[in-house]
């Protein structure tokens, strides 16, 4: 083979490889989504969520739902709300501090801690929560057990580093002349942050929050060790056990005893996929409109 022939063979091989990599990935993802839609779409409906209980009674908590997803879905929603209530203010505040106020050394040190937290496997976070209970049981509260509050705190810790980083990046990514604007007009640092930086970076921060919500909704490993159970109805207080959608999926996949339960598993998986998908699309769109504006 001449050099030119070898060359064009290599070129063809490279092109073929790249195209197949893309095709393979595309097929795999579409297979996952397609399979779920195919098997799960049929199950969608009021019965999937509320079983035999009328939906109004179920929503108000008047009657418990026995064979529907409602308690799992409600559990997930409550978990997301609780953990975000805790993590979002702290995360955004931390990100603001790191981007606007902190010295370079401080940024580096705290940045490392934030990265460390971001890298902690979720099961280790769950283990941490679990060990808190073990410690508490020996020390102060012999009746301490894993519960909704514990899970919410652990998930808050899980999503906190992402919030800090996305806020920090959104603020630091603002063009320089905007960051200098406030000071040049005589604003103090906080005035500049509040009136100039935060409104301008608002969308980036918002999309970070939405992504964090998605992360909180899909997590399974943390809740596995901090209080999720297969059957708990609606949690009446922060100290109760609770159900969650991802756990329901896992549980049913492993231990379904009938076709009906399997169908519910598919329905649950589809619902979770739609939930995280919706959050993702929202965050993506917000991010895109922001980029458009600053690119002009």
């Amino acid at each position: 083979m001449t050099a030119t022939q070898k060359h064009s063979l290599a070129d063809t091989a490279t092109t073929a490889f790249c195209w197949s990599a893309a095709a393979l990935t595309g097929v795999a993802v579409l297979a996952v989504m397609g399979f779920l839609i195919f098997r799960g779409a049929g199950t969608l409906g009021l019965e999937l969520f509320f079983g035999q209980t009328p939906w109004w009674d179920a929503l108000t908590g008047a009657r418990p739902v026995f064979d529907g997803l409602w308690s799992a879905l409600a559990g997930t929603l409550i978990l997301v709300v609780l953990s975000c209530l805790m993590a979002v203010p702290v995360g955004i505040a931390g990100g603001v501090y790191l981007s606007v106020y902190a010295s370079r050394r401080y940024q580096s040190m705290t940045g490392f801690a934030v990265d460390l937290m971001a890298g902690i496997p979720s099961i280790v976070m769950g283990l941490f929560g679990f060990s808190m209970i073990v410690v508490l049981r020996h020390a102060l509260f012999p009746h301490a057990k894993t519960c909704l509050l514990l899970a919410a705190v652990c998930i808050a810790l899980l999503i906190l580093p992402y919030l800090v980083r996305t806020t920090q990046n959104a603020l630091s990514g603002l063009p320089e002349h905007l960051r200098l604007l406030g000071p040049s007009l005589g604003f103090s640092t906080w005035q500049n942050t509040r009136h100039v930086l935060l409104p301008s970076a608002g969308r980036g921060i918002l999309s970070g929050v939405i992504l964090a919500m998605g992360r909180a909704a899909e997590d399974t490993a943390v809740i596995l060790l901090t209080g999720v159970v297969a059957q708990a109805f609606l949690p009446r207080s922060l100290w109760d056990k609770f159900e969650a959608l991802p756990f329901r999926i896992y549980y049913l996949a492993a231990e379904h005893r009938s076709v009906a339960e399997l169908d519910q598993a598919f329905g649950a998986a589809l619902v979770l996929l739609m939930l995280t998908g919706a959050l993702f699309c929202l965050a993506f769109l917000i991010q895109r409109t922001m980029e458009h504006r600053w690119k002009k």
Binding site: S103, H177, L178, L180, S184, L185, H195, S200
Partner: protein, 254 residues
């Protein structure tokens, strides 16, 4: 012609960023009603010079400024870097316009009233009363008076830059610092703003940076040539008015 008492003075000002010397022993004086321009090749420290006056260099980590920078306000000399001269006060009296129009993503009205409310502590009503005068000062009133509530982002580049200027003027400064204010504008907008500067010169002392030698020839009363952080020459209007002279001088220093 006797020189009027200066309003800004810099003596032996040296600015370092992390041990690297960006400005080396700069001396300059600026009088009221003067438009002094600073020119020089890229990286010669022009922007740093401007920022040394309103202490904006301190927003960057690792900066260190030595030497004297003082302004004469209300008849008294005030050291810009003194402990008892609050940063915010300094920046209200020394206004800055940047190269890129940095309007905020709010309405035109809010772009003007926000600094008044936040930096000067005015009430919204008081601030709103100043809007018309500020816009008239920059010849923008007729163009935008019907759409004050519209987003400032809908304005053209030249209009946005004039809005930024209005924002600064509304704070009633004594000195204006202009950092290549027409660099991002087209020809027509540039001419309009240059005419504006000519008229503003009477009320404010202006220190401006420019890349354009023709702009320098059109506007400047005096020119300071900066190279590698050093002030290598100072020219009066008479000296650079002559075209041949001007080219020769520029060749020499660039």
């Amino acid at each position: 012609m006797a020189l009027p008492e200066p309003i800004l003075e810099m003596r032996d000002v040296t600015v370092r960023f992390d041990e690297k010397i960006v400005l080396d022993r700069i001396n300059l004086r600026l009088g009221p009603g003067e438009l002094v321009m600073v020119v020089g090749p890229s990286g010669s420290g022009k922007t740093t010079l401007l920022r040394a006056v309103n202490r904006l260099n301190e927003e960057y980590p690792g900066s260190a400024t030595h030497g004297l920078v003082r302004v004469r306000l209300g008849g008294h000399w005030l050291d810009c870097y003194a402990e008892n001269f609050p940063l915010t006060d300094l920046r209200l009296r020394v206004g800055m316009v940047f190269q890129n129009p940095n309007v905020l993503p709010f309405s035109i009205q809010k772009n003007l009233t926000l600094p008044l409310c936040v930096a000067l502590g005015m009430s919204k009503v008081e601030a709103a009363q100043r809007v018309q005068r500020a816009l008239e000062d920059v010849w923008l009133w007729e163009e935008v008076k019907d759409r004050l509530r519209h987003s400032a982002l809908t304005l053209s580049g030249g209009q946005q830059q004039r809005l930024c200027l209005a924002r600064v003027l509304a704070l009633d400064p004594a000195i204006l610092l202009l950092d290549e204010p027409t660099a991002s504008l087209d020809f027509k907008a540039t001419r309009k703003i240059e005419a504006l500067f000519q008229s503003l010169k009477e009320r404010y002392a202006i220190l401006a940076v420019t890349h354009s030698l023709s702009q320098m020839r059109r506007l400047a009363d005096r020119v300071l040539i900066l190279r590698g952080g050093h002030l290598v020459s100072e020219l009066s209007r008479a000296e650079f008015q002559n075209q041949a002279n001007c080219l020769e001088i520029m060749e020499e220093f660039f």
